[in-house]
Amino acid sequence: MLAQLDATPVETPEIVWAGLLPLLILSAGALLLVMLRSVVKRLPADVEPHLITAIGPITVLGMWFAAGLAGTDVPLAGLRDDMGEPAFYIGLALVMVLAGTLVRTMEIGLDAAITVGLGLSAFAATWGIWDDRWQVTGPFNAIGDQFAVDGFALLFAGVLAASVVLVALLLDGYLRRESLDGPEMYVLMLLSAAGGIVMTGANDLIVIFLGIETLSIAVYVMAAMHNRRTESQEAGLKYFVLGAFASAFLLYGIAFTYGATGSTNLVDIQIFLSSGQLVDNGLLMAAFGLLLVGFGFKIAAAPFHAWTPDVYQGAPTPVVAFMASAVKAAGFAALLRVFMLGFFSHVDDWRPAIGALAVLTLIVGSVMAIVQSDVKRMLAYSSISHAGFILVGVHAASLAGINSVAFYAVAYTFLVIGSFGVLTVVSGVGDRATSLDDLNGMAKRRPVLAFMFTVFLLAQAGVPLTAGFVAKFEVINAAVDSEFYWLAIVAMLTAVVSAFLYLRIVLSMYLGTADGDAADLGDPIPKAAGLAIGIAFAVTVGFGILPGPLSDLASDALPALIGAG
């Protein structure tokens, strides 16, 4: 027996390390960071600033290596091409000096600097893979057929990396203000983003589940991280209990899918289902329903949205920014991959369910938002209605539909990080000042911030010349293209309803007069947070006026998903 076993060794899948680079950077970086900080609790005061400054040039090198390593079949080949030119060295040195200066002027902490560096390197890695791999060879699998590195996965991985960078910039000032300094939050965020990247590329339901759990568990803890605020603890607990419940549904759905199709691999499922061997699809229907419950929870779609307002209100504001951007984007990526790749042949069966979810989500999100008086709760409901909008794109189940979902996810990431970034800055110690009245007269205290917040809110309302308009436009476009006029009408009408909510906030900022004891006295904005909000603002307006590049990127990413099936 033993001899026989030896004779037929188990075939191990080939692993393409380059394709896993973004994932590796984030997860290994998280481990390194936590190890480093547990060994060296506090650096000598005269060393730390220099070390932080050094993160800048190191990041530049890291990005270059990551892009070069990931970008070619032969590691470092890209690097060799670049080397040798004197101009290149001068340029690189200049950029490194610039990066160092930038880090120094940002007055950022060590943990945040490292996290930003890791996020940027991961971003560069996705960029490198994209440039080199995607256009030439099409999608490829990094670990057997379990994990795909295609344009679709890379686009969402880029979104995750970008949100890590921006949220880390926000967290730095926030944690110091709340006296919560420490590497834990950053480590958790990096791990969570790594889980998200697993979700975006997973070609197997089990791998998706692993990704979701990695992502979620880290975020549960992040939500409860503010240990002196009971609301934060409550948010964490609530999120955890309901999240675990949803995970159970998801797992059940996976089991049912396996029962119905005999596989958990999406490509195998696709092949099996389109061959028409499945006669009685009751089990499969149950699987669709259970999977949708699980995903619906992650993306905060009604009727699985109940946790959202409480958690968004209670959790630390930068964490909310991360939940609304990265978690939602990863959830949509996984949802799209499962349903568009695995179950595409049964589109007529799952489409009505998605449509019902979309309508319900849109209505709940926009109508419930009106009666709120807390801005974080308002934005929570608004994020629900955005999920509804994205679901309209999913519902179209076409190339245009996925294109619009990808565009929406990218645009919304920046919008929502910008919005919650502004809230982080103005809400004062302990996140107390988040009611609508607390924003009264903000335009006088902080004119620039109020202006940017206004732009973010108007973009969420879908006003032209912002990325929000193009995103909504593409979704509606996809719905009309597939001739689902009723859904398009519902979406447009609820968009008008939710415009009311955004305008209420805007009016408070510009019209209200502040009480004497306002928590926000117009203290200087932490520079790093200012940078994050500024980047979000530039992206929002930039892609609003010229959406072409982003839209091209999104449409380049798509055929992978449909083509693979």
Binding site: P464, V470, V480, I489, L493, F500, L507, L511, L546, P547
Partner: protein, 534 residues
């Protein structure tokens, strides 16, 4: 230099105000003089360019688009940067670039509470870019973007510089318009996906307004056409505002600062009617025919309802706002006939209403400044205390009620006349009924306007204002801002051909795809010239 006009001119005239706004952002807020100068200069530049176009425009070919700019813009959604000028858009373009500098002049010493000239003027410049762009755009998405761009500055002008109830008024204004444009955008998208080439039957997939007007809804089944037209009807109808959607207008006008009211009345309302004649009707003539009786019905209800509303108002500004509803009713009635006669009258009515009602709001602003109230009951004796102001009010009232010889007449009278004989396929009896109702509306208009004049300008000055030193006659800056308005009201009154001759070829061109034509407007214009020696 005409190459400049052909190649770049339309882009320049659109974005000159915006460039001015960007420049002003760099100037510190304290330097108010500089802000006023830059904003005036930018709007004067736009006016100068507009006049250049007026001179260079090829009037013998007013029916086709001239100076076309066609550049790629957002390729992923097939939207292109197409702009052009024809006889239909030229009068409205001129109206916009003409009104704005005068508003900036008026703003020289009339920055409303709570001040901050910088933001106020920047918003008005952005508004100007939006208005000009809307009248020039020849791509549906571009049109939509400009149409929406107009919304925001106006929202902020009402919300920040408005009266007591500004919060409510600004929200109402924004949400009503957004609601309309949401469905309008759906209509545009449906047009994009459904339009077919009439000869080959291929899907066109274009937002190009020139192409869509040419194919005129070919290949779209009738029921879809009706729905698409319905979406546009809501979008444009809210903006006009047509009767059931008008309720935002009195609130917005009453709360808006003087400049806001003037711009709203003079130009913004025209975006809606322009949308009807530029987009909805030429692109979906079949649906327009089916909708015409309804549009006409809403229009005449608006005429009567607006007039009755006026009679019930106690606030001068609110009264003028309701008179806008009535006047835009005449414009819509002209459009609903779908004849070139009616649509020419409508365009004339737009320009005339812009000048006259804009002027009335200026006067209301000045009255408010002097008396600190607009309550008609408390006013009186203006002709004694500020005779010139009183006379100007009297003049505008006469123009507004449609006195022949002033501009208002040529908007209303031909519109009523056109209702006698609407285009083929539209029930004649119905429109004759509308004609009678609209004629009654003019009588009511005379009633409420003369009553307004009587109560505010005539009689003795009320005691509380009898010796008020603040009540002075028309100031120099007001003269400068108002004189051009008054001049044009008279000019177009005696020589209506100036506008009719430009618009007629374009209107004929846009209608000739499928609708039967009536006798042109030349007859009316010639008769007018003979009568008044213009």
């Amino acid at each position: 230099m005409p190459e400049f006009l052909t190649d770049w001119g339309l882009l320049v005239i659109t974005f000159v105000p915006l460039a001015g706004a960007l420049l002003m952002m760099l100037i510190p807020q304290e330097n108010e003089e500089a802000h006023k100068q830059v904003s005036l200069l930018a709007s004067l530049l736009a006016l100068a360019l507009g006049i250049w176009y007026l001179i260079d425009f090829n009037y013998s070919d007013a029916g086709s688009l001239q100076y076309v700019v066609d550049e790629s813009w957002i390729e992923v959604i097939n939207s292109r940067l197409i702009m052009g000028l024809d006889g239909m858009s030229l009068p409205l373009l001129m109206l916009s670039v003409f009104v704005m500098p005068l508003v900036f002049i008026y703003s020289w010493d009339h920055i409303p509470h709570p001040g901050n000239a910088k933001s106020f003027l920047i918003l008005m410049l952005i508004l100007e870019t939006g208005m000009i762009g809307t009248f020039l755009a020849q791509d549906l998405i571009l049109f939509f973007v400009f149409f929406e761009v107009v919304l925001l500055p106006m929202f902020f002008m009402i919300a920040v510089w408005g009266g007591e109830d500004r919060r409510y008024a600004s929200l109402k204004f924004f949400l009503y318009t957004l609601f309309g444009s949401a469905l309008m955008l759906l209509g545009f998208l449906a047009l994009f996906f459904l339009s077919k080439d009439p000869t080959t039957g291929e899907l066109l997939r274009t937002f190009d307004m020139r192409v869509l007007s040419d194919v005129a809804g070919a290949g779209i089944v009738r029921s879809s056409q009706l729905l698409i037209f319905g979406g546009m009807f809501l979008g444009f109808g809210v903006k006009v505002p047509l009767f059931p959607f008008h309720t935002w207008l009195p609130d917005a006008h009453t709360q808006a600062p003087t400049q806001g009211s003037v711009i709203l009345a003079a130009v913004l309302l025209k975006l809606g009617t322009y949308g009807f004649i530029r987009i909805a009707i030429p692109m979906l003539p079949e649906a327009a025919e089916a909708w015409a009786p309804w549009i006409g019905l809403f229009a005449v209800i608006g005429i009567i309802y607006g007039a009755l509303g006026c009679l019930a108002q106690t606030d001068m500004k609110r009264l003028i706002a309701f008179s806008s509803v009535a006047h835009m009713g005449f414009v819509m009635l002209g459009i609903a006939t779908l004849t070139d006669f009616g649509i020419n009258a409508a365009i004339f009515g737009m320009v005339a209403h812009g000048l006259i009602t804009g002027m009335l709001f200026f006067i209301a602003g000045s009255v408010k400044e002097r008396y600190h109230t607009l309550e008609i009951k408390r006013l009186g004796g203006m002709l004694l205390q500020a005779p010139k102001l009183g006379w100007i009010l009297g003049f505008c009232v006469m123009a507004s009620l449609g006195l022949p010889g002033l501009a208002g007449f040529w908007g209303e009278f031909p519109a009523i006349l056109a209702a006698y004989q609407p285009a083929n396929g539209i029930p004649e009896e119905t429109f004759r009924g509308y004609m009678v109702i609209a004629a009654v509306g003019t009588v009511l208009a005379a009633g409420y306007l003369l009553w307004l004049l009587q109560r505010t300008a005539m009689g003795e000055a009320p005691e509380e204002f009898a010796n008020d030193p603040e009540i002075v006659d028309v100031k120099r800056i007001e003269w400068i801002a108002w004189a051009p308005f008054l001049f044009l009201i008279v000019l177009f009154g005696v020589a209506p051909g100036l506008i009719f001759e430009i618009t007629d070829p374009a209107v004929v061109e846009s209608l000739d795809n499928c609708l039967q034509l009536e006798g042109g407007c030349e007859g009316v214009a010639a008769a007018a010239q003979a009568t008044f020696g213009g």
